[in-house]
């Protein structure tokens, strides 16, 4: 029988559901070889959290609130904000003591604009042009470089997700466009990419719900709380199942159940937010959960789904927004984010900020677990994923960009050994690390990224 195309989809009137990797997609070759070939495509997730870390302050460095004390493989995560990652320590590459100089002011007029400017720097490592107009300028971001070279054979080359509101227009202060605060992905130096906050929009984009030809009536019908996207593709599922062996049938069934489960969670959020009860985030779209962790987890699950169906292999994921005064009661500390991050150098306040850092990082094991639990060829999605997590700011109390928090999780198909803490020499640009990442991901010809001075060897130690 002719092999099923990797790009086969379940199609209905109002939706297109991409498939997970199935044996039927390569029956002519031994399963393991086919599966291995499919799994060799590295997935990239770039997560940005704003305002640096408590561990970037002088006291935080001494108390190892971010980076572990030991360099090399024998590090102890217990005192750090990374401690929830202990089950994944063998997959971690922690790089400490790097700086993001392009986020610093270059002229007198740029002084004070650190909060407004920093996010544009995180993945570009380029200094943004100070403008409130349409002539914005930064650099091509790491995720976009990867997507442009390795993401062109997926239906969507890359996606950009966020948790906080990023819909402010015009200037955000100090002569900077809000685009610099809100976008971390830059397709070109003058082309920031918008980010999606609403899980419903992500879901619909993954399954082409708004594809050409979908009428408003069809969309309205599909959005009915009791309907599922799967209702639209039932006939297509039945046709496909006739071509599948028992293992593939089970795999498809598990996958569709997972799609339905995520859709149901989105529907529950929408129903709750339409109920008329008071919301913590009254201005947020109806698909956005008020709970930070619920929102982050939903976005993580959508990313896993996208990887499983190979709709895209690249995500940029912005967890916060500079100067946000959101609070995170789920962390056990009720203070607001902006105020807490400005800790005045006081140890008690620094520890409060560390609690928030720990909470934010603490959501990543959920993501890694979902990747680990999702089959991909003869391995799991985690084998082929690299997750980058960091911030363009260091000590937020000083608004500086020194000793920025940064770690990676995943071995990216063996490109990284993992299980190591690398401490860079003083003054090392974070761009050196990012250049090392790009080279590890296949950019062997790249010699410079942002203000890099050379690639950091990520497999040292």
């Amino acid at each position: 029988m002719k092999a099923l195309s990797r790009r086969s989809v379940l199609q209905g009137m109002g939706a297109t559901v991409a498939l997970p990797f199935l044996d039927a997609m390569a029956p002519a070759r031994p399963t393991s070889a086919a599966a291995t070939a499919a799994a060799k495509k590295t997935r990239l997730v770039c997560v940005e959290m704003v305002h640096g870390s408590a561990g970037s302050s002088a006291i935080g460095v001494k108390k190892n609130l971010w980076a572990p004390a030991a360099i090399g493989r024998d590090f102890d995560l217990a005192p750090t904000s990374l401690r929830s990652l202990e089950p994944f320590r063998d997959l971690l590459t922690i790089v400490s003591n790097t700086d993001v100089d392009p986020a610093n002011p270059f002229t007198a007029k740029e002084i004070g604009g650190d909060h407004v400017r920093s996010s544009a720097v995180f993945l570009t490592q380029a200094h943004p042009k100070q403008t409130q107009g349409g002539d914005v300028q930064a650099g091509v971001s790491l995720d976009q470089l990867y997507a442009q070279r390795f993401g062109q054979d997926t239906p969507i080359p890359s996606m950009q997700l966020c948790i906080e509101n990023v819909d402010q227009a015009g200037g955000c202060g100090y002569g900077y466009s809000c685009v610099y605060t809100d976008a971390i992905s830059w397709a070109a130096a003058d082309r920031p990419l918008p980010m999606i906050r609403d899980p419903r929009l992500v879901f619909d984009k993954l399954f082409s719900v708004l594809k050409v030809g979908t009428t408003q009536a069809e969309r309205a019908e599909r959005l009915d709380e009791d309907r599922s996207i799967l209702d639209w593709v039932l006939a297509s599922v039945a046709r496909l199942q006739k071509r599948l062996g028992p293992a593939d049938k089970a795999r498809l069934s598990d996958y569709l159940e997972h799609v339905r489960e995520i859709e149901r969670r989105i529907q529950i959020v929408e129903a709750r937010n339409r109920s008329g009860d008071l919301r913590e985030l009254p201005a947020a779209p109806v698909g956005v959960p008020d709970s930070f962790s619920e929102h982050v987890k939903l976005m993580c699950d959508l990313q896993v789904l996208a990887f499983a169906s190979d709709v895209t292999r690249v995500f940029a994921f912005k967890l916060g927004r500079d100067a946000s005064n959101r609070s995170y009661p789920e962390s056990g500390f009720k203070g607001t984010f902006h105020d807490t991050s400005h800790h005045s150098g006081r140890e008690d306040k620094i520890l409060n900020f560390a609690t928030l850092n720990t909470f934010h990082v603490g959501l990543m094991p959920y993501f890694l677990d979902q990747l680990k639990n999702t089959p991909d060829g003869d391995g799991t999605l985690l084998d082929s994923t690299l997750l980058i997590y960091g911030s363009p700011m260091g000590d937020s109390n000083l608004h500086n960009h020194k000793r920025v928090p940064f770690f990676m999780a995943g071995r990216a198909n063996g490109a990284l050994k993992g299980g190591v803490h690398l401490k860079a020499p003083n003054g090392t640009p974070l761009a050196n690390v990012m250049l090392g990442v790009l080279q590890s991901l296949g950019f062997h010809d790249m010699e410079r990224f942002g203000d890099s001075e050379g690639a950091l060897d990520l497999n040292a130690g």
Partner: protein, 139 residues
């Protein structure tokens, strides 16, 4: 001793003498742009641009306003004596006319440190310590 060697020693001695004389008479100029961290609850970055002409100092400080992300430039005048400087200026157009007085000195690490005092019609309403780092201006 060869003639060449003698000449070299003489040149080095002259250079050392000039250097010592230079160090004795001229403290580093404060002219330039400074990234000032005002410690008011948290550290607020503020631009301080100075021009030094002998013992006379002029400049501008860009003070944050109540509207986040906005600043107002305040012209400063003052002087420097025995390593300590004082600058004063008035916030133009404010409902409550406010004077700003900046006192400080250059520390051993090449940073400015001191206090900024703001005084309105009702008296002082801000007294903040600061440190300021010289900005490496780049395009």
């Amino acid at each position: 001793m060869s003639r060449t060697m003698t000449t070299m020693i003489a040149v080095l001695a002259l250079a050392a003498g000039l250097s010592a004389q230079h160090g004795k008479t001229e403290a580093p100029s404060l002219t330039g742009t400074w990234n000032m961290g005002l410690e008011g609850g948290h550290v607020i970055p503020v631009a301080l641009v100075l021009k030094q002409d002998g013992e006379t100092l002029t400049g501008t400080i860009s003070m944050p306003t109540q509207r986040a992300g906005n600043t107002v430039d305040v012209a400063l005048k003052g002087g420097i004596a025995s390593g300590a400087f004082t600058l004063t200026g008035t916030v133009e157009g404010a409902k409550d006319p406010t004077t700003i007085e900046i006192k400080g000195k250059l520390n051993d690490e090449g940073m400015l440190e001191g206090r900024v005092v703001m005084t309105g019609a009702q008296g002082p309403h801000g007294d903040m310590p600061y440190t300021a780092e010289r900005l490496k201006e780049r395009k």
